[in-house]
Amino acid sequence: MKILVCISSVPDTTSKINFTENDSKFDKNGIQFVINPYDEFGLTKAVMLKEQLQANVTVLTVGDSTVEPVMRKALAIGADNAIRINLNPNDSYSTAKEISNYIKDNPFELIIAGKESSDYNGGAVPGIIADTLNIPLVNACNGLNSEGDSATVMREIDGGIETLKIKYPFILGGQKGLVEESELRIPNMRGIMTARSKPLEVIEATENNNLTESILFEKPALKGECKIISSDNVGELVNELHNVAKVI
């Protein structure tokens, strides 16, 4: 089985976010980049499937050369080879179309992405790939069991979980539950050493057709002072919420 894991390089979750060029661009200065947390669940699942089924795992990122350390980390965790599409990903549509074009020429049975990236939070890439390649999509996927030419998968829906039976090829947008937090892999020394010699191929973008553009970033308005209420006077909090803030 051939598995493609699409990963995004994002700021570490503890990062403070700042902007540059008149607040029109994200300021990468001093930021530690990591594998998008949602993609990391998918990558770990792919490595587990590789061990179970002798699958081959390719990781793919759309980005400039600054994303390569994150790709090397994915190789150290256990992916076999890496593809970088040389394009700054500025829009879900163009990113997804570039990935789709690659897959059209290089088919995979299972395509794994995160349900969204933790930076721009678009959440649209897996669905656009599904439509372009005319394959099923399992979004917000939180469980997968591979069974020959098909898989039983679980996805989160509003208010519950749905179980599906689905034939390969398909694409999933992963999240926690696909593997547990405790199952995530940390690269070991051997993994890091072998990752250096694994192939990382750079290919050029084909269309680069952006349909949206970011023009301005702002920070949410700061909250006012916190009103501290004594734990002996809980009734005052209830009164405030009911009569002042009027939220209950």
Partner: protein
């Protein structure tokens, strides 16, 4: 020319998020000086369908035989109804996240999700969206002729605007490409993303069996329950309740955080709440810097008192 809105239903009924999307579509239509078409899937009574007309929908297209979970058929049907459509509006639910990107692909339309502002100018479409897990607000400009927008729940008002309407019932033509073999729905539970009040707890609760008082408080307030990341990682609560940067982002009117210190990742997912209350034993907990109201105290003493006080208000 028209604005198309995806009118999502649950067991044949529309919900608050549906009406928010419909009202948003109506407002957008007034900017474009055009009308609103709604499209819905699954069996819905005519009386429920006609409810949409009270919020400004001129034409309602219903596909009773197509399940909304069948993303491919839903997307193909929306594509068929898209002639002359300039904007397709969704509420940003799990179901919509599966369908909206397919519409973007089919119509070569730019897609913007987590939208929190109205379109003001039809010749230069710019909207604000939540970005960087709610650590930033991003203004995005649409470059394509057609757009797909998914609006954040709890961000827009529902507005009555009664109009004349017609209903058109359509038949299924496509086969599904997935087989749904099981469904586990939390019946009667309030949807976390739509909830107006959310009661959330963290490691300060010390053990899974201590959630009884959290659930009781939530029930009195008609609230949804949520939790911090460590709590879902340990398995005290299901992953679906995890709010924060790598969980759900929510925007209720009232968020009550009990025994949650308020790490930057947690705050990212909840700081769109209108009012936040923090209850924590540690007076230095970072949550007190972001909350509107704070109580420094032990959850096991404060929460039972809160339950009694809220009961008094609810009984009046």
């Amino acid at each position: 020319m028209s604005i198309l809105v995806y009118a999502e239903s649950w067991d044949g009924k529309f919900r608050k998020s549906t009406l928010e999307a419909v009202s948003y579509a109506k407002k957008t239509a007034s900017v474009y000086k055009t009308d609103v078409k709604a499209i819905s899937f699954g069996k819905i009574e005519e009386s429920e369908l006609s409810l949409l007309a009270e919020y400004g929908v001129n034409k309602i297209i219903s596909y009773p035989e197509i399940l909304k979970n069948d993303g491919k058929s839903v997307a193909s049907s929306i594509e068929k109804e898209s002639e002359g459509v300039e904007m397709v509006i969704f509420s940003n639910t799990f179901n919509a996240k599966m369908i909206a990107p397919r519409i973007s692909s089919k119509l070569n339309a730019g897609i913007i999700t987590n939208v929190i502002s109205y379109i003001e100018d039809s010749s230069n479409v710019c909207v604000k969206k939540q970005s960087f897990s709610s650590k930033a607000i991003e203004t995005v400009r649409l470059k394509s002729k057609i757009g797909v927008l998914a609006i954040s729940p709890n961000a827009f008002e529902i507005k009555n605007d009664s109009v004349d309407f017609e209903v058109e019932i359509k038949n299924k033509e496509l086969e599904s490409d997935v087989e749904i073999i099981g469904k586990d729905i939390n019946k009667g539970k309030i949807s976390l993303s739509e909830a107006e009040v959310v009661v959330s707890a963290g490691r300060g609760l010390k053990a899974a069996e201590n959630w009884g008082m959290i659930e009781e408080l939530a029930e009195i307030l008609g609230a949804a329950t949520a939790c911090s990341k460590p709590v879902s990682d340990i398995g005290w609560r299901p992953h679906s309740e995890h709010v924060g940067q790598t969980g759900k982002a929510i925007a209720p009117n009232l968020y009550i955080a009990i025994g949650i210190s308020g790490a930057i990742q947690h705050l990212a997912g909840v700081n769109s709440s209108k009012v936040m209350v923090a209850i924590n034993t540690d007076a230095e907990a970072p949550f007190f810097k972001s909350a509107d109201y704070g109580i420094v105290g032990d959850a096991f003493e404060v929460v039972p008192k809160l339950i009694e006080e809220f009961k008094k208000i609810k009984n009046n």
